[in-house]
């Protein structure tokens, strides 16, 4: 069983757009190894960096927000980004759980 209907992220995206905000959808499209959220999980980001939903357990969201804001600034339609295992000794963004994920960013227009 999959719970696509339970999350109201896309509904929220439409609310944001109707409030004249620019919105990027960020969707988990592939996972390898152990990853916190399944394929299809989604977050939305606006031009100010406000976000809702999630693509991990809080591990990579900050990087996704930055990438989404850049996408809006550069007015690009879409982009794919990948996150790998983080190095515990470095302050870098990654997945502490040891998994890998690919996240797809797309502007709604």
């Amino acid at each position: 069983m999959k719970n696509s209907f339970d999350e109201k992220i896309l509904e929220e995206a439409l609310d944001w757009i109707e409030a004249s905000q620019k919105v990027v959808l960020a969707t988990v499209i592939q996972t390898w190894g152990s990853s916190p959220r399944q394929v299809g999980s989604r977050m939305i980001v606006n031009e100010k960096g406000d976000f809702s939903g999630s693509v991990s357990g809080g591990c990579v969201e900050s990087a996704v927000v930055r990438e989404c804001m850049d996408l809006i600034k550069d007015n690009k339609p879409c982009k794919k980004i990948e996150f790998k295992v983080s190095n515990e000794s470095a302050w870098e963004v990654g997945l502490a759980c040891g998994g890998e994920i690919a996240v797809y960013l797309e502007q709604v227009n």
Binding site: F5, E11, I17, T27
Partner: protein
């Protein structure tokens, strides 16, 4: 994604129809897939794969391609018999889960719009009410009245239709009596034992919201076992 596509997705979710979003990752173009609806020329080449993902209710990227599929499946139907205090909390919890709830209660003063705003309520006896709802092995029953006149016919219907989850509120003694009545009506021991009675996982709580939480927790657990 086009704004128009986003709007159609939300509309389809609202109408509880099954569909998939097909996205070309290299262009960012997306379209909606539905059973028996032709795909665009661009996606036709992937139609077998898309159907496979859709049938298996899976999300993912088609191998060696830039096509991503996200399927939306129907929520699970949950029939709550008894528009009682616990049901009010159950409905509240279920709002954030993938359940579509229908409440049955022949007692009008319980099953009121005021007590259950925006809920599907059938103000009839279970035998009559079930004529209005399509049920199958993907349906769950939560019987809350512990009144045999109301609960028993619903339990019998659920057993006959092989609901994947059947639970009934009531003490151990109430449940023993209930099992005996079902046995007298010709149900097998295996069928009767499939009923969760007393319903809910052991949380220890006694208030209405606590009991509702224990019931919804058991329902979610059984849904994933299914």
């Amino acid at each position: 994604m086009k704004l128009q596509t986003l709007k159609s997705i939300i509309e389809k979710k609202k109408n509880k129809s099954e569909f998939a979003i097909i996205t070309n990752l290299s262009t960012g173009e997306s379209e909606l897939f539905e059973k028996n609806k032709p795909l665009s020329k661009e996606m036709e080449a992937y139609s077998n794969k898309i159907n496979e993902f859709f049938k298996n209710k899976k999300n993912g990227v088609i191998e060696n391609s830039e096509i991503f599929i996200e399927t939306y499946v129907l929520p699970i139907k949950v029939i709550v018999v008894g528009a009682v205090h616990i049901a009010q909390y159950l409905v509240d919890y279920a709002k954030n889960l993938n359940f579509e709830i229908t409440i049955i209660d022949p007692r009008g003063y319980f099953a009121s719009e005021q007590r259950f705003p925006d809920m599907k309520i059938i103000n009839k006896w279970p035998d009559e009410a079930f004529k209005e709802i399509e049920t199958n092995e993907n349906t769950a029953l939560i019987a809350l009245t512990h009144d045999p006149k109301i609960d028993d016919p619903a339990l019998q219907h659920a057993l006959k239709k092989k609901f994947y989850f059947i639970g009934a509120l009531g003490s151990k003694k109430t449940h023993e009596n209930r099992c005996q009545r079902l046995k007298d009506s010709g149900f097998s021991e295996k069928e009767i034992n499939s009923i969760h009675g007393p319903i809910g996982i052991k949380l220890g709580g006694k208030s209405a919201p606590e009991i509702a939480l224990s019931i919804i927790a058991q329902l979610v657990a059984e849904t994933y076992i299914k």
